[in-house]
Symmetry: D2
Subunit: 338 residues, 4 copies
């Protein structure tokens, strides 16, 4: 259910509606927008008795939400969500977001060198894994806490906000204390405990689509996060599993307009994991910007052949510079700035 | 690496080899078999200096393991793993394992009624979810702790061992304290923190294949559990995501012989999730037994239309009786007992 | 639309209804069944004026068909279609059909040797390709006409009916003149000209499911054949394309009960193409029989390593004998004879 | 095998090499390029005795081709293939090719109206189906011969070259006599007889990727056409079958750079079939141009709700105008003209 408030409803009117909802044993989620404030209601199994709410000051109407997801839906919040990051960059608006950096933080010098390079080329966010989910228990699992400290140093030196992945609730505590954006990886898209914990975080969360997740499942996973009160969620398409063998995954760019139709959340594209092949990253990054994504996430490494993780898909810094030049030229055509 | 011991090697000889391995900073995993004891070595990035180990008493040879997974491999343990459960049932041997019960424990009476029915029909393990992973945050999430207490009652009354799912480390503590088998669901197949925690449990673990997991990824996920010292792992095929729309998932029965060739771990099949349609469960359960699976897992509900979860795939008790009659007739033909 | 006739309707009553349908510019398809004769009507875009038909002698009622396919549907013909082959074997009834032989006819001696072997082991139909659809234009394309002559010899010597593939209308003329069953391969499942030509043939047709065909597309493809007047159609599941890499294709056994619910046509399973791996053919053949398929199609070669086509999935004759022994033991449990 | 000739080799030297190849019982395929002429050799099962060819005038060397496909490969022809169409448009070069028109030709007026509209908006080729492959035998199958005549009229009036689909050898004769480009649809990608017939045509052929075809299978299918002597082939990505349900197919744009690396053939993208949803066609058309495709194929209809075929994916003319404006702005950034 959704309570639609008058454009001029006061904040105390909004609060009174929220109290009334709480009094029914339900949870109110006020979503302020440019032209109106809507209050999502969760916790109800059936219909909410709407007459008593409609009688309150400032309420226009109480309407049912027709989608299985609610808070992520454009029905509840018509305006695009814009996420502001420290240092002035943002995700979800006119400015194209470019997250770049190594798959894994391998050491202080490596992380800083790559940080300087991507900053110089025009990246707006630095990415780097401190905790790495690896198919094999015998593969490099990341530097952990030490990796987080290095990330903080990269931020201090470059001024770039940091995004890094959390794998479990304990790790999320650590990541939240350092990162500017918390990443939930594809393998954890339906790790509902982790999603709930991310929903309690006070930092934005980037949620990657699972390898065989439908659009509805992705939106529902995001709903877990919003349902806990964290409305700062970015979605990420990173390729799905198919029979096709010319790339590591099949990048599904049609997800971008599909998300934008149904949800107010920003969506970015990861052409590095999406293709798994260095020579396809730039063309697919161009395509991602052209299709209308709010940003791209790209792996950059200054010695890809010796990378501890995903070397074959990492761009050397000069290729990343080339990528930036190309997406910068493209962005204005789709109404973005880069 | 793998240390192969003489058939007549004594346990103190085995222990001396383990100590030598630990002294190298590595982890020994003794895997006793019918004809020999092998000791898997994990923790090495490169080659282990094998000469010093080969010089020890009781050692035949030290051989490299050629697969990316080690402990789950038949190279390391040639004999099938047999998992004994309380009450005399087992998984992995001649006896066909039939796990049956409701998708979710909905209440004491429901759980007990279904428990009596599946016991009477010949089930060997009772299944029922106390913690339910649900695509939607607004769907029934299980009774939690109370559900576990009910499961313990069902066991007390029916004598059937209990399998139930754990969704996160905290839940696993609770599940481990009650269940006889801990289930890790498809969505968590690559939740590596949870796998590690399951590897520290002292109860058998059933690991379901992820919706788009390859055989190698499934075996690697199991390797995470064995790598922590828990060798009691059962694999489960439950259908994969494809374009096909006549069933909820596409049950991939060829996984069964594929696993059995490469691994010593038992594998069971879940035709309920694998098809998602009541009318296909019995034919696919027959096929699962015929293909050589060590068991099947089936959802049974005595009022499927009102089930809080997955009603369309639940069998009413009389259909489950029919299923049992059919698989009992089939089992001897593939060398099993039911 | 479907005209349902009285059980005791005479053949001249049926013929009079057919004439009335033709007079409307439509096509009648009489489908005699055990308990009633139904007459399918095709050619209508909208509704047929049914009152005039219902007024005819012997007509019970005229009912709309709710599925997009008509003639293949159980609504139109409730009884299973049973296809009689020369020499007394059949497909679609109690007797399990086992089609066996080489992927391609490579020569007279090879074809005869394998023919004797599969006959001795209990096969009921001989398979062998004279025209081979090959991914590469440079691969062996079959012996063509000469291959058909060899197939006729195999039949003469073994008494087994012959199934072989037709790739195009010209080839279908040749195949029809020799074969007992005309095979349409997976790559041609939606080659609608070929399907129409097969519908004009006076021999049974086996239609293999396309590599990514849905159930509805498969039934629609069969409808093309029945629509031309050939009601002797057998469907075949041979595996679909997925991300899974432990087998060449993913054999989708749930298609068997799904087809049997919706259609009266027999369905067989090809575990050779379905897995592409010799070591998986026997387990999956067992599963196919257990799931309820009317038969299996298996590739047999007496020198698989030198086979000109698909050697890795061919069984040597002794393994085929083993397969026969196993499916013979299984068949009675699912109500079949082998 | 591939014979590489000197840049200055004369045409009679080339002809003498071809004769020598024919004398070996093999087929020569001269492929003139900007910097050299190469002569592909097909028909050999093993190695060709190359010494005698290397001894001929004008030959630099004879080298093996390492890919399973030969004539489509960049190894054999390094330069991009440029296909010239009547009226001055082309496919494969700097000029972006935009094929637009209705799914099916429904009538003279409809076809002409849409033709004028797409010409005015800037399309370079007119598309329209006269023979339609339809999943259902009861769906509109196209106007056939009459449709071809209408297409000729559209060309006469608009000056646009025509592309239309051929479904079988008989239809290809008709299509070849009228069309400027012969289309082979996704369902026929491995209809090898039809591919061979297309290879004998004297018109360019556009080959659409099958719904679950790998890159190698697509290139092999094209090789069938080139192997018959028709080197004027355009490839087309039109989406593949996956589990994803927010679009009719999953458009696989990574195929574009993958093809361009391995083959000299042009590749275009069909975002209409690739998404099946009107609201996704423009974003994906932009992405297709940005990824580097040589063109796009778009369905346009001036009354989509009444279209006899694929209405939900057709753009009304004003949306097509919008698409043209957007791709025109994008094209220069990827080095194309539109």
């Amino acid at each position: 259910m959704l309570v639609v408030m008058h454009a001029k409803a006061t904040s105390s009117e909004v609060e009174r509606v929220c109290e009334a909802i709480r009094a029914m044993g339900l949870a109110p989620h006020p979503m302020p927008g440019a032209s109106r404030t809507a209050i999502g209601i969760t916790g109800n199994r059936g219909t909410v008795e709407s007459a008593s709410l409609e009688a309150l000051e400032g309420v226009i109407q109480v309407i049912p939400v027709t989608r299985p997801y609610k808070l992520v839906s454009r029905e509840v919040k018509a305006d695009d969500t814009l996420i502001q990051l420290p240092g002035g960059s943002s995700i979800g608006g006119e400015a194209l977001c470019v997250m770049a950096g190594p798959c894994a933080v391998e050491g202080r010098q490596q992380a800083l060198r790559i940080g300087r390079a991507v900053k110089a080329a025009g990246a707006t966010v630095y990415r780097g894994g401190a905790f790495k989910p690896r198919t094999s228990p015998y593969a490099f699992q990341g530097l952990g806490r030490e990796g987080l400290e290095i990330l903080a140093e990269v931020r201090a030196e470059t001024g770039l906000p940091i995004i890094t992945e959390a794998l479990d609730p304990a790790g999320l505590d650590l990541v939240e204390s350092v990162a500017d954006v918390i990443q939930i990886g594809a393998r954890n898209m339906q790790n509902f405990s982790l999603l709930r914990r991310a929903g309690q975080a006070r930092k934005p969360v980037m949620l990657k689509r699972g390898m065989s997740a439908t659009l509805e499942e992705l939106l529902m996973a995001a709903e877990y996060i919003l349902g806990e009160g964290n409305y700062q969620v970015i979605l990420c398409e990173r390729g799905v599993r198919t029979f096709a063998d010319h790339a590591r995954n099949t990048l599904d760019l049609s997800l971008v307009p599909a998300v934008q139709r149904l949800s107010h959340l920003p969506i970015v594209v990861d052409p590095s994991h999406g293709t798994g092949r260095r020579n396809k990253v730039i063309p697919l990054a161009r395509a991602a910007v052209a299709v209308g994504a709010h940003g791209v996430m790209v792996e950059v490494h200054d010695d890809p052949d010796r990378a501890l993780c995903d070397g074959p898909q990492a761009l050397p810094p000069e290729m990343f510079q080339d990528l930036m030049d190309q997406v910068r030229a493209l962005a204005p055509i789709v109404g973005r700035r880069a």
